[in-house]
């Protein structure tokens, strides 16, 4: 506790106050206690946080593929899909798709995630896709920070979400009520930018991954 330079009783008393050692000791000690508390909290909550994330994703895959009997996780490696996680490359940019099967092992289609900036922040969504008919099965927004009450209708407006059921890609956005074939999506009035973002994310993702997904199914047993 006693710092240096406190040796002989000098006649003129040095300016009182804690020594540098004491200050470092205090902050270091508190830092150690803080670190301990955080590590305990982190390890205690990690399994539940991971489980929450997995549950959200599983529920989303389940929803956009129409309750598949099971699904495989596939990793996008260049222009093919791999069943095992590739060891090289940046794990953060690794893309995964989910291939869903019915109870009789026939293929339903892929669940694919995509993201692009919307009106205020990146819109992240997942959609079901059957490359054999270029058909979008369903769409679910995973993450958005669009204007509450307006932009967030891309997630909450059931009519809009239902538009993506069995739509044929590439999609085109039209004014509500004007859509007459299955490539046209009725957009939400007043939510043009956010609606367009959803359509753009799906089109861009399919432009990039569509051929890869189709090629994978041609190689796989039906």
């Amino acid at each position: 506790m006693t710092g240096p330079a406190q040796g002989a009783p000098a006649a003129p008393t040095p300016p009182s106050g804690p020594t540098a050692g004491k200050l470092i000791q205090t902050l270091g000690g508190l830092g150690a206690v803080a670190g301990l508390i955080i590590v305990v909290a982190y390890t205690a909550t990690l399994p539940r946080i991971e489980a929450n994330k997995a549950r959200v994703l599983a529920a989303a895959v389940d929803e956009v593929l129409g309750a598949p009997a099971r699904y495989d996780t596939l990793y996008v490696t260049g222009d093919s899909l791999a069943r095992t996680r590739p060891t090289d490359g940046d794990p953060a940019s690794l893309e995964t798709v989910y291939l869903g099967y019915r109870a009789d092992s026939s293929i339903i289609g892929f669940a694919v995630t995509g993201a692009d900036p919307g009106f205020s922040d990146v819109v992240r969504l997942i959609f079901g896709y059957d490359p054999r008919e270029s058909r979008v099965l369903a769409m679910k927004v995973l993450e958005e920070k669009e204007t509450p009450g307006l932009g967030d209708k891309i997630e909450k407006d059931t009519l809009f979400v239902a538009e993506f059921r069995n739509a044929i890609a590439p999609l085109r956005g039209v004014k509500r009520g004007k859509g007459n074939d299955s490539t046209e999506i009725d957009m939400i009035t007043g939510v043009t930018i956010s609606s367009r973002t959803v359509i753009r994310v799906i089109n861009q993702t399919l432009e990039r991954l569509g051929p890869v997904l189709a090629a994978h199914l041609q190689g796989a047993p039906q």
């Binding site: 106050g17 804690p18 004491k22 200050l23 205090t26 902050l27 508190l30 830092g31 206690v33 803080a34 508390i37 955080i38 909290a41 982190y42 909550t45 539940r48 946080i49 929450n52 994330k53 959200v56 920070k145 204007t147 509450p148 009450g149 307006l150």
Partner: protein, 218 residues
């Protein structure tokens, strides 16, 4: 009441519920009060997270108050507060992921909530552990109930629901602006106006009564 009288433990607890309410009177912690009060559920999440950080950091600050030299006290307090905020962040993500997602960056921003550093500096660093915790609980409740008032007004008017339950008929057209940022300012302003007017009338009434008493005595 009077500054001469030493405050009791009950005072520590009760003081910040109304008379020195952190939001209503001290106007502290307005950032979360304006930003996340667009639904009652968010207010509950934010209120409990803030309460947890307040109580935890007041407790620890009070425990170590005799060993922390004056020179490093702010850094020490911030370190303690940041620790509890990290714990609250992790706990909220584990227990209520929906609310954690809705609160976004505002959970991490509890670190810079003036109420917490204010109580650490003004109260917990000078008072025994028990009273510091009481003071923190009082402040936490004072902050949370004001958030809930704001959240109730905004969610009911802006969305037609309270804690997710629909309380108006189908024909209610929500005032969307109330759950947007301007709604926060409008609501807080109106609450402060009403409370301010009420307090003003109270003090006027007291003053005229005192005046009448003085005249009577004369």
């Amino acid at each position: 009441m009077s500054p001469a009288k030493p405050s009791t433990a009950t005072d520590d607890f009760v003081r910040c519920l109304w008379k020195e309410n952190p939001t209503l009177v001290q106007l502290l912690g307005l950032c979360p009060t304006l930003a996340v009060t667009n639904s009652v559920a968010n207010c509950l999440g934010m209120g409990s997270a803030t309460m947890f950080v307040l109580v935890g950091s007041s407790f620890l600050v009070s425990v170590v108050r005799k060993w922390v030299p004056n020179e490093v006290r702010i850094s020490a307090f911030i370190l303690i507060i940041a620790t509890f905020v990290t714990v609250a962040d992790l706990a909220l993500a584990a227990v209520a992921p929906g609310i954690h997602k809705a609160l976004g960056a505002f959970v991490a921003l509890i670190v810079v909530n003036c109420i917490i550093l204010g109580r650490a500096e003004a109260f917990a660093s000078r008072n025994p552990v028990g009273r510091s915790v009481l003071d923190a609980i009082g402040n936490g409740i004072g902050f949370t109930w004001m958030m809930l008032v704001m959240g109730s007004i905004r969610e009911v008017l802006g969305n037609g629901t309270w804690l997710g339950f629909r309380i108006f008929g189908e024909n209610f057209e929500p005032w969307v602006i109330m759950i947007l940022p301007p709604g926060g300012f409008l609501t807080l302003g109106s609450i402060l106006l009403v409370v301010g007017a009420w307090k003003h009338r109270q003090s006027e009434r007291l003053r005229t009564r005192d005046l009448a008493l003085a005249q009577e005595a004369a």
